[in-house]
Subunit: 449 residues, 2 copies
Amino acid sequence: MSDIFRPLTLDSRADPLYNLYVRSGTPLATTPQHSAPVAVLLSQGDEVVTGQTVDTNAAWLAERLVDLGFDVRRHVTVGDRMVDLVVALTELSSTADVVIGTGGLGPTMDDLTASACATAFGRPLELDPDALAFLEALFARWGRPMADSNRKQAYLPQGSTRLDNARGTAPGFAFEHGRAWLAFLPGVPHEMKAMFDGLVVPSLTQRFALTPGRLVSLRTTGVGESVLQDRIGAFEHDGVVIGTRAMSGECLVKLRFDASVDPSTVTALTQDVADRIGSPVYAIDGLDAPGGTLPQVVGRALLARGATLAVAESCTGGHLSALFTSVPGSSAWFLEGVVTYANASKVARLGVPEPLIATHGAVSEPVARAMAEGVRASANTTYGIGVTGIAGPDGGTTDKPVGTVHLALATPHGTHHHLLRLFGDRGRIQTYAAHGALDLLRRHLHGVT
Amino acid sequence: MSDIFRPLTLDSRADPLYNLYVRSGTPLATTPQHSAPVAVLLSQGDEVVTGQTVDTNAAWLAERLVDLGFDVRRHVTVGDRMVDLVVALTELSSTADVVIGTGGLGPTMDDLTASACATAFGRPLELDPDALAFLEALFARWGRPMADSNRKQAYLPQGSTRLDNARGTAPGFAFEHGRAWLAFLPGVPHEMKAMFDGLVVPSLTQRFALTPGRLVSLRTTGVGESVLQDRIGAFEHDGVVIGTRAMSGECLVKLRFDASVDPSTVTALTQDVADRIGSPVYAIDGLDAPGGTLPQVVGRALLARGATLAVAESCTGGHLSALFTSVPGSSAWFLEGVVTYANASKVARLGVPEPLIATHGAVSEPVARAMAEGVRASANTTYGIGVTGIAGPDGGTTDKPVGTVHLALATPHGTHHHLLRLFGDRGRIQTYAAHGALDLLRRHLHGVT
């Protein structure tokens, strides 16, 4: 409980926000202040603030800015309302070295960013002749008349630097206000990303002395976030942020190291976390170790030994083949997949004996083994995988509830079987079953249990 | 250009934020003020503010709150830093009727939400005996000793109402401060969602007289966001927010109607937008019309006519089968899928004549047709689909660049062919090719071109 009552530091009182807001007189506990320049993000749009759109721009920009060496401290999202935008701009510009805004640069009435900057920073809108010429040329090329609403996009806040948008009609702009440098980009992700990398990053690296940190990701499969957190346990080191991110069928453990952490400590701490987790770690991205996705790791191992693969799927319905064929060049080792949804198809395509299905049911260890062996034989490959299970929502019984999945791996030296008991909806069960099958092969190829 | 210089309204000056911040003296243009109660969101966590995690919680909560009838005006994200959290809490609580916070309730030192509330609102932390008993029972059931760090989770801000968490160790809490009601929930999505729906929503509906709006989504495929926006053109109606959301292989057009919009106008405006878009609209969610995903729509049409389907895929590598089998009950109409990645497999499994491949290449109209007809014949189904193409990044030529995809649909009355020329990375090409094949069948079944 010492963390609740741990010694309180007062250095946060130097923060301008502190003087602006905090009147309670209570001393503040605070984490160490970074010396890196502070960056904040402003996302604008009714579609974002109402949740119609998930704000992936903010995460993308935050990660990029942290990679560059900024201390990203705040994101603010507001809708298409002038007062909210002006308030957010005023506040963010007074507390950060860099403000990156996205959205609100389009041609419609609810695109208010330039007007809001005019109001917030006393920079009346002025026609940028080059921006207008660019728009006119664009519409001439499209053979369409240019609407007045597009002409509006050529008006930028006085004294700002135009940021050209090679992929759309909305130019961005940037200017200084007090301690802050502010840049505004369109909300369309591919336009925003191209402009950030091409135009904003060079300005930032020129303007600030940045010391980038380092990101290392441990890729795991077969266990959930809570198990991972249990295995990792207490992990607190200065200059390291640890987080987990569940993705379909697997989980990333991400370690972000400040620039102050030396490379040997990065390696040692990463190895420590990998050791705590154990065999679910199948790859590490961001170190010298070869990284990659689970299908890439498996594909690399197959390729290294000149082995080939065919799969027979029932409940995963094509997901397993899709995972393998997501790897560029997979045609070198993935020869064939069969989605045998109907029992007749299991018999005709794979040679699964009909009595086996009649005796044990289609979802059973013997049928999974027969599918794996059948597809291996008929496709003439080194390995064959068979998957049969109940993805739901219907079809479950007391003996074989929804989520029962039998996996089999046929090898030149016999067939292995693994039973999964999964929960969740149909999509989750299909995804986890496919990853389970991948992992069965991964563990066989890598010799881990 | 009238929108830049349109008459300015001053009603925003009544906004408390206005008086707090806006000192420029410039009158503000503003969109109409809503009369709905104002809700704001606070997301906390280094992993969110640094972009390690995409903040899907905020979008989920915003959509829920808008559905309930709130005017969601602002999201703020801060990291695990006390001063940033206290500042955000102070600011948000002074400008909103409802504040929903997520994250920062865990057992570790960087979980600061309760302490920050103590500081910001003068509510010292107090042990909640029931919360402690709950945690002790939980750890007893797990057969594990309870750490002091978990005991910390039983300390809640003085006078707050505990929000029990049936799915984790972190209880939430809620209290009033001034005009605002604040509720704090864990950041783990499934815990947060269960607690919001089970504990927060009842409090909100009891506390506020809410008039919920309505959300209608038009599901489209085959065209991108920019084409959709061009077709829709100018669309400005009071009380309606329109947005597009690109998803893998398709695009949603979302219309959010305020409660003030009457049902016949909802229907008429939706129909207007659907007419502007035309045949790419394959379903409408939120009206009386049957909605659903593209595989669901196709599956429903197949089921209605007692038809069955088999597919033969090359470049999509199982994605197409996976889309069909994502539909519960698809085993009634989806009989078999074959992923014939190797040419030998196309010959052996589907009876594609070897000379056809030798003459035209594996990626060609004749081979796509032979694959569709071959899988239809061998699986004995009503329809057969064949897909062959170049997903890249390698394998493209001048004649057949990466992204060339031949689709064929074999029917009882002949075989249809469609050529796609896609761009993007391997995953995008596989996804769009699979959706293209689905849409070929959808258009055939629905008789649209």
